[in-house]
Subunit: 324 residues, 2 copies
Amino acid sequence: MKQLLFAATAALALLSAAHAQDPEPALSPGQVVDAAKAEEWTAIAPADLLVMDLAPDTAGKARHVVIQLMPEPFSQGWIGNIRKLAAAHWWDGTSVYRVQDNYVAQWGDAEGEDPAKAKPLPEGLATVPESDYALSRDDKRIKSKDYASAIAKFWRWHTPNPLRDAYAGGQGHWAGWPLANDSKSIWPVHCYAMVGVARDMSPNTGSGSELYTVIGHAPRHLDRNIALVGRVISGIENLSSLPRGPAPLGVYDDAAQRVPIVSVRLASELPEAERPRFEYLSSDSESFARYAEARVNRRDPFFIRPAGGADICNIPVPIRAVKK
Amino acid sequence: MKQLLFAATAALALLSAAHAQDPEPALSPGQVVDAAKAEEWTAIAPADLLVMDLAPDTAGKARHVVIQLMPEPFSQGWIGNIRKLAAAHWWDGTSVYRVQDNYVAQWGDAEGEDPAKAKPLPEGLATVPESDYALSRDDKRIKSKDYASAIAKFWRWHTPNPLRDAYAGGQGHWAGWPLANDSKSIWPVHCYAMVGVARDMSPNTGSGSELYTVIGHAPRHLDRNIALVGRVISGIENLSSLPRGPAPLGVYDDAAQRVPIVSVRLASELPEAERPRFEYLSSDSESFARYAEARVNRRDPFFIRPAGGADICNIPVPIRAVKK
C-alpha cells in the first residue's frame, strides 16, 4: 500500500512537473523576435554600414542597398580596402554587371578585366593572403573559448545535433554572424545575402572592388575559397530580382543591361540625418537562442512536423531598422 | 638485406599504385556532365511536363516556364489533381500573385481565399491525406532496397559522410530526384526550384491549384509539412526575378502587380512539334556519381580547398533540353 501511494504521489509529482513545464503558447520565430527585450538588440555602428544607391528602376523607384561589414577579426584586409574604395567614392559610376540565377549578383567595374578600360584603383590597397579566408582558432582576437561558449549557449537548446552539416565540423553564431569551424580554424559562411570578394584564379584573392552577394541556395563550397566581408541587411530584393544575365556566369553581355551604381558611401560619411540605423538581435541573447530553437522546431500552427534541426543558413540573424 | 629489398619493392609497388591512381585531370562538375554518355541520359515523358506561359514582360519578351512532375509513387494524389487542372485549362487567366524574397513564388487563383470571388475548381479533385507527404519505406512501389542501393551507389564515392544534414538521417538521389529519409519513411526535399502545393492550416493539404516554387535558400523545414509535386526545369528566372510583393508573405497587394498566366498545358496535349523535350542525367549512372563527387570536392582550377561534403540541394540533377 505504501508503495502504491508512493507511486501515486510520484505520478502526481510528474503530472505537476509536466504542468509546470507546460509549453508556453507555441511562438513562431518572428513572434520570439518581436518579444525580445530592447537590451537584447545591438546597434550597428554607422562606420560598419555601406549604403549603395542604384539608379532608380524603370518606374522611377529608388533602389537602396545597405551592407553591414563583418567585425574584427574577420577579413579585415579586404574590409580595409573596401573602406578606402568607399572613401574614394570609387564605386560611383560603376554597375551591377552580373546576375546569375540561384547564385550571385556582382558589382564593381564591368570593364575591370580589360587593362585598357579598367577604372584605376585608389593607391595603397592591401594584397591579402589566402590564409585570411579562415581564422586560426588560436587567434587571440577571437578566443576559441568565446566562440565555443557562443555555440554552446545556442546548443543547450538542442539535441542531439541540430546543426549537423556536410561542410564543417561545427557551426554557430558569434557576434551576430554565421560561422563554421573545424579543429583548427573558424570561418564565415556563404549564406543568402552574404557579401564576398570576387577574385581571379588563385593566388589572387581580390582587392574588394568587385563584390557579389548570394541570391540563391547557399553556395557553401565557396567557403574558405573566397573572402566574405559582410552581408546585405536591407534592399537585397533590389539585387535578387534583377534580370538574369544571358552570358555565361550570368554576365550582362550588353552594357545597356548593366544597372548603374550612383554612389556607395560609408554611413559614417553621410550627414547624421541621412544615416540608416540598424540593430541585430545579439546572438548570445536568450531571445536569439529561443528564436533559433523555434527555427529548428517550428511549432507555429502551420507546421505539423518540426524538423528537429536546421541548416545554419536557415537561422538568419534578425536585423531591423531603428525608428528615428 | 632481404628485408630492405622487400621494403624497397613495397615502396615501389606503392609508388606504382599511386601512379596508377593518378588523378585524371580535375574536371569541373559541368565538364563531367558534358562528358556523360548518351545512354546515361533519361528522356522525360511529355505527359510529365507542364508548360506554363506567362504574359510577355514589359519589353515584350515571352516568358515560358517548364515544370517536371514527380514520378510515381510520390505525391500522386496531388499530381492527379494537377493533371486534371491542366486538362481543364484551369490556370489560364490566373496569375503569379506572390513573390517572397529568399522563399517562394506562388501562382494560381489570387482570389481563391474569397469564396465569393474564387474560380470554381474542376469536379473530381482528390482530397489527399497528410500521410502522403512522405512515403513508407515499406511501400512496395519504392522498395527501400532500391532507394538504399541508389544512395549506396552514390556514397561509395564519398567518405565519411558527405551529405551529413540537419534535416534527415539520410539523403540521396533516386530516379533523378533529391530525397531524404529516416528509419520509417522517404520524402522529397525542398531544394531550389522544387514545386509544392500551397495549403491552408492542417489538416488541409491543398488541392494543387495553388502552386509555389522555391526561389531562395532551401526551406527544408517545409519538408513533410507540404506536398512537393515537381520542379521547374526551364525558365525559373521568369519567376525568381519577378519583383517581390510588398504585402506580408510577398503577396502583390495591388492586382495590377500580378503576373498573368496565359496558359498551362501538359506537354502531351501540345502538338508534337511544340512539345518541349528534356532529359536528365540518370542518378544511378556512373557520370552522375562522378558529377556529385565533383560537386562535393571541387577541384576545378578556381577552387583552393574542396569542401569534402555537400548539401543535397547543392547537387542539383543535371537536366538539358534535347535538340530537335
